[in-house]
Amino acid sequence: MRRRSTLVLFALVVFLLSAVVGYAAEALQPSTKDKCPVCGMIVHSSPQWVAQIIFRDGSYAMFDGPKDMLKYYHNMPRYNKNKTQADISDIYVTEYYTAKPVKAQEITFVIGSDVMGPMGREYVPVSDNKVKTFMVDHKGGRSMKFADIKAEDLSEENAPTHHMKDH
């Protein structure tokens, strides 16, 4: 009897949690007012680069490129004192070939390519099956998943150039 009620309780918790997680699953349209919290640029003007972090409470941060989103993500205390990585519900980046928002975890980031974002060299989000094409077409240097990107990679500005040489 007791075991069963625990199970029910567990199921309920899972259900509620998923409901909470599922709350902000939709990517947002950048408005004309959204500014990148890292560089201060208006996000709206380069829609094919927009990245966003959506928090569990429904608030969000819009970025003018995945690079700034990564900087923010890996240095939350500096840019947003009220939130931690644990508060994040979803991270979206705009996939290069479709220009549509995709979850950052489901995609590959390519650095060292000749594709320039609004802030120069970028971590270009490319869907997994097109990474090869992108590497050839745009002289991509290195590809990595979201989880593999370290804070140290971001601090050295010229990292992508370095990888270019390897290529």
């Binding site: 094919q48 290069y96 070939y97 479709t98 220009a99 549509k100 594709v115 097109k130 094409t133 992108f134 077409d137 745009h138």
Partner: protein, 382 residues
């Protein structure tokens, strides 16, 4: 200040002494500035409009070339292009030209690509057996909605379409010579192959990828020629650039005429004018006073003509649709859209006209006078 005011009064009196000559000068000057500014206003507003409107032009048009000529493109190419990463959709376009023997006009025939409701049309978009025409076509053929329009090619190919829509007059610059009909009517009338289109329109998701896609199309389909939207925009930027093309032709003639006119003034002061300067010097005017006088004389003419000319140009272009240029622009075409340009103004161009006309005129008046004024009054008057 008071001194300048007095000298201005004197300058006006001396200009009025040669009333007719100066009036003629004023009129010619005004006319030249009027033509110059008309050219600039018209080309600038057409350019601005083209650049604003063709922002929504197709991102990529793929034509097929055969023997250096535009050729129909097989629909099979569409699948190849669609498989390139980054391509959203590929849509065939069907269009062509029709020479109308009755009116001598050339029409552009296009197949309907959309079923959307359009703002700038009275009536509706055509279904099979119907057509929508531009204002120019409607006027040339004296068509109204629900009239029947005939097309013939030789004796075999005939087409009768009911006019269901006429594009509004203010869209003429885009639609004046258009005839929009259903794809099946167009294919039947021009006897086109079912598996070929005039060209392919490619939609691209990320505009940064357009160039890569263009290069891939050129590589995989060497007999094609992709035309990007930025090339369309650049074409119109160049056509209406006031430093080249259309504007330059009209511009150069007028400007040269002006320079001859200013040069003529610059090279010779009349004996009368020399004598006047001599007398002024003799009664005690300083050289600087004489120059101020000449400056004001030139300023009265050039400033008032310049301002009148710009006003004339503006009114000519934006109220009367640049009618003077019609014969230039029309050439051999039967259908020329009536110009009703949106007044986009570039102040910089007005400043350029100012420096091209007022400054040379001032210089050409003052420099010879200065030469006369520094000479001994006795020698001048002798």
């Amino acid at each position: 200040m008071i001194k300048h005011y007095r000298i201005l009064e004197y300058a006006l009196s001396s200009l009025l002494r040669r009333k007719y000559k100066n009036l003629a000068l004023f009129l010619i000057y005004t006319l030249i500035v009027g033509v110059l500014s008309s050219v600039m206003f018209l080309t600038h507003s057409l350019k601005s409009e083209a650049l604003k409107v063709f922002i929504d032009a197709p991102e990529l048009i793929v034509q097929r070339l055969s023997g250096g000529r535009h050729e129909l493109i097989p629909l099979g190419y569409a699948d190849l292009i669609e498989s390139i990463p980054g391509v959203a959709t590929v849509q065939p376009r069907y269009w062509g030209y029709y020479y109308d023997p009755n009116t001598g006009g050339n029409y552009t025939i296009m197949a309907r690509t959309t079923s959307a409701e359009l703002d700038l049309i009275t009536g509706t978009m055509p279904q099979e057996g119907q057509c929508a025409v531009g204002k120019g076509v409607a006027q040339a053929r004296q068509l109204d909605i629900n009239d029947i329009m005939f097309f013939t090619l030789g004796s075999e190919q005939k087409l009768m379409l009911k006019v269901v829509g006429i594009f509004t007059a203010n869209s003429s610059i885009l639609t004046n010579d258009l005839v929009i009909m259903d794809k099946n009517d167009l294919l039947r009338f021009f006897a086109l192959d079912k598996d070929k289109a005039t060209d392919l329109m490619v939609k691209v998701n990320n505009e940064m990828e357009i160039n890569t896609i263009t290069n891939k199309i050129k590589r995989t389909l060497p007999d094609t020629r992709p035309i990007t939207r930025s090339e369309i925009l650049r074409t119109y930027e160049n056509v209406f650039n006031w430093r080249g093309g259309m504007a330059l032709v009209m511009f150069c003639g007028t400007l040269l005429a002006f320079f001859i006119f200013a040069w003529d003034k610059a090279t010779g002061l009349s004996a009368e004018e020399r004598q006047e300067i001599g007398i002024l010097k003799a009664i005690g005017w300083e050289t600087s006073d004489v120059l101020t006088l000449k400056f004001w004389e030139a300023m009265v003419i050039s400033l008032s003509s310049f301002l009148s000319g710009v006003i004339l140009g503006y009114v000519h272009v934006f109220y009367f649709g640049g009618t003077i240029f019609d014969p230039f622009l029309k050439g051999w075409s039967i259908l020329l859209p009536p110009f009703d340009p949106i007044p986009y103004i570039d102040i910089y161009q007005v400043v350029v006209i100012f420096f091209l006309t007022v400054v040379p005129y001032l210089a050409s008046t003052i420099i010879p006078s200065w030469k006369a004024a520094i000479a001994d009054p006795d020698t001048i008057m002798r």
